[in-house]
């Protein structure tokens, strides 16, 4: 679940998955989103945008599909906006991920 940070930002940890977003509009498309699951199986899907990335392609996030990440940022219209340096890969990073946390085997430095 989103956690408030002292600077007013929110932090969420979850897995990057591809989902269809903006369903019901003509901008509907498949995009990487942050999925958080509770122990009861409830799913929280959060749209995330990495600042200055092309919003419809989200190349940084697309490279992280399948990875568990921690994203800290601010909200705009239901989207968590994060700087690349505030997107931390916790587990399952690809070689091109922006930042990696943890021991060897959980990811590689970019």
């Amino acid at each position: 679940m989103p956690m408030g940070k002292p600077d007013g930002r929110s932090e969420i940890e979850g897995v990057i998955e591809l989902r269809r977003v903006l369903v019901g509009t003509r901008s509907e498309h498949e995009a990487p989103v942050l999925v958080t699951r509770s122990e009861s199986g409830d799913e929280l899907v959060t749209r995330v945008h990495v600042l200055e990335d092309p919003p419809f392609e989200e190349p940084t996030l697309s490279r992280l599909v399948g990875a568990r990440v921690r994203a800290a940022g601010t909200w705009r219209n239901g989207v968590l906006r994060v700087r690349p340096e505030d997107l931390v890969v916790v587990e399952g990073a690809s070689t091109s991920s922006p930042a990696v946390e943890g021991a060897a085997g959980k990811g590689e430095e970019p």
């Binding site: 003509r26 509907e28 945008h49 419809f56 239901g78 989207v79």
Partner: protein, 597 residues
């Protein structure tokens, strides 16, 4: 009775403050300040030049005709003042003049360099009764604004209420807001589609009171007078933008039209309507991209039409090939000069502004554009012909301008045409239409007009209180493709005839085409004829709504490679109007659903 110098509201002789706008009566700039002998505008005590006409204060002017502003310096013959407001109430305004005696000829260069906006000092003289709303304390802005209308200074906290009171009392011909939304708030309402956090709109600044949700959904949603906003507190830029009045480019040469490839059908239909005598070739993105668009815009883009994606996350618009390619087509840096341009964009968030961030809309204005129309939120529209919703806003805007309407009138006429077509069904508005009517805003002067186009009676017909048929014909009338004409006819004739026409059209089209084209109301039971899962959909809608609706609205579109339909329904309840919408795939399988509060 005396008149408030800011908002023209009638005040009693003993009043200390104006009831309408709160201005202290007898303030500096009211009764004791120097009045220009050329145009009658009251000025501040320390002004050397008139803020109304630019004349040196105290200079004698001979033969000023009664009821008409004398002009202290040569002005185009086409800008003869038309002052109809009683002289005792409103100081007559001259035109073409600028504070500090600078005149339009001394306009500052566009913020992004390049050439100065062309078109000369043409300023609409019917701006006399335009209410120009300026954030309180912005003295230079107020001085500039005074050249173009009656200034109402407001504080952000009660800006909307002040303007609405002023409208109720003085009935201005238009409202021009000055300042970005963080200077002069843009009020918002909850988004009934649930897709955006809210729907920011300037509509309420043109009304005497803010409508409730129920009122909006039964049609009280449009401003009573045209509204425009100049989203800047830069006095030089304000002067530049307002000076574009009566000088908007009259033709599509030069001009550009850019569409996401996947929306080609809808864009071509719009282009046929707005440039029937040969407009620009539609640029499809991809394969076209930002470099191509920037090159095409060049130094004189003229008229522009965009039907592309936009977002509220980055200041860029992008194309779409339907297969996952979204090339950038416009960014603020690509807009260098846009002298007197008319820009209409169907991009989502095309008119959204965020403090401290660049925006494409303001880049156009800084480049000299006189009129920008776009949406503050998701723009609702079809991927294929016939044009609807956002498409028809663009069609109405350009048609209205070419008929001689001002930009504010044209946008309002386009919205009225949409509303009136929907009202024929006798049902509450769909959430998508509700949002379209609110979210499309005009940046620029509401009085901006196309150069050389005389006012037409049609302009009046499209104004509030005009006859619906005329408004419709003006906004989406004759011309355009067969489908467009059919749609226009459907929108303008009786319901039984509409049914006949729909059936004829249906008979002429292949089933798949009809599915793609059809958008309209169905009986609930008809869902079974449209979707494989129609029976389940009927039950689902009844369950969400609590009752069986009289009808549902089906809106088909394509999203990337997949077909989608939005099925919405509404029902009045003792607590308000309840809306439901279900998004389904081609078979009618539910993908998403939402219910209004």
């Amino acid at each position: 009775m005396t008149a408030c110098p800011s908002c023209l509201a009638s005040c009693s002789p003993g009043d200390v403050f104006c009831d309408a706008c709160g201005r202290r009566l007898g303030d500096r700039g009211t009764t004791s300040d120097p009045t220009c002998t050329a145009c009658g505008v009251r000025n501040h005590a320390d002004d050397v030049f008139c803020c109304g006409c630019g004349a040196r204060l105290g200079a004698p002017v001979a033969n000023a005709p009664t009821g008409q502003a004398a002009v202290a310096r040569p002005a185009p013959a086409t800008t003869a003042a038309r002052v109809s407001t009683p002289a005792a109430v409103v100081p007559a305004r001259a035109s073409g003049g600028h504070p500090s005696g600078a005149g339009a000829g001394a306009l500052p260069p566009p913020a992004r360099g390049g050439t100065r906006p062309t078109g000369g000092p043409a300023v609409s003289h019917d701006a006399t009764t335009t209410l120009v709303v300026v954030p309180r304390g912005q003295r230079e802005l107020a001085r500039v604004a005074g050249s173009f209308g009656v200034v109402l200074e407001v504080s952000p906290d009660d800006a909307l209420e002040s303007v609405q009171r002023s409208i109720a009392k003085s009935r201005p011909s238009a409202v021009c807001l000055v300042g970005a939304p963080w200077d002069l708030p843009m009020p918002g309402v909850a988004d009934p589609t649930g897709k955006d956090e809210g729907v920011p709109t300037d509509n309420f600044y043109g009304m005497t009171s803010t409508p409730s949700e129920d009122e909006r959904f039964v049609g009280r949603i449009l401003p009573e007078v045209p509204v425009g906003r100049v989203p800047t507190t830069d006095a030089n830029l304000l002067r530049q933008i307002l000076a574009a009045e009566s000088a908007l480019v009259p033709r599509w040469t030069p001009g550009i039209a850019v569409s996401a490839s996947t929306w080609r059908g809808a864009s071509e239909a719009v282009l046929e309507c707005i440039a029937p005598r040969g407009g620009p070739r539609l640029m499809l993105a991809p394969p076209r991209h930002e470099g191509d668009v920037a090159e095409s815009m060049g130094e004189q883009p003229g008229r522009l039409y965009f039907n592309v994606h936009g977002t509220d996350q980055e200041p860029m618009w992008v194309g779409d090939d339907g297969r996952g390619a979204y090339p950038a087509v416009v960014r603020p840096k690509h807009v260098r000069v846009a002298s007197r341009a008319i820009v209409a964009s169907e991009a989502c968030y095309g008119a959204a502004l965020f403090e401290g961030e660049e925006a494409i809309s303001t880049a156009f204005l800084a480049g000299g554009a006189g009129c920008f129309v776009g949406s503050t939120i998701i723009a609702w529209g079809p991927a294929a012909a016939p044009p609807s919703l956002a498409d028809l806003i663009v069609v109405g805007l350009y048609r209205g301008l070419d008929m001689g309407m001002s930009a504010g009138e044209a946008l309002l006429a386009a919205k009225r045409a949409l509303l009136e077509a929907a009202e024929e069904d006798g049902e509450p508005l769909s959430p998508q239409l509700h949002n379209t009517l609110l979210s499309f805003v005009l940046y620029g002067s509401p009085n901006a007009r196309v150069e050389g186009v005389a006012r037409s009676s049609g302009a009046k017909l499209a104004m509030p209180g005009g006859r619906r048929g005329s408004a419709k014909a003006g906004a989406v009338g004759a011309g355009g493709s067969v489908l467009d004409q059919t749609r226009a006819r459907l929108a303008g004739i009786g319901r039984s005839t509409v049914g006949d026409a729909r059936e004829r059209l249906r008979g002429r089209l292949a089933p798949g085409d009809w599915q793609a084209l059809s958008r309209g109301r169905l009986q609930l039971a008809e869902l079974s004829t449209q979707f494989r899962s129609g029976a389940q959909l009927e039950q689902r809608i009844q369950h969400l709504l609590g009752v069986a609706p009289k009808g549902v609205e089906v809106f088909r579109y394509r999203a990337s490679t997949v077909g989608r339909a939005s099925i919405s329904a509404a029902e009045k309840t003792p607590w308000g109007t309840k809306h439901v919408a279900i998004v389904v795939d081609d078979d009618g399988e539910e993908i998403d659903a939402w219910v209004s509060r």
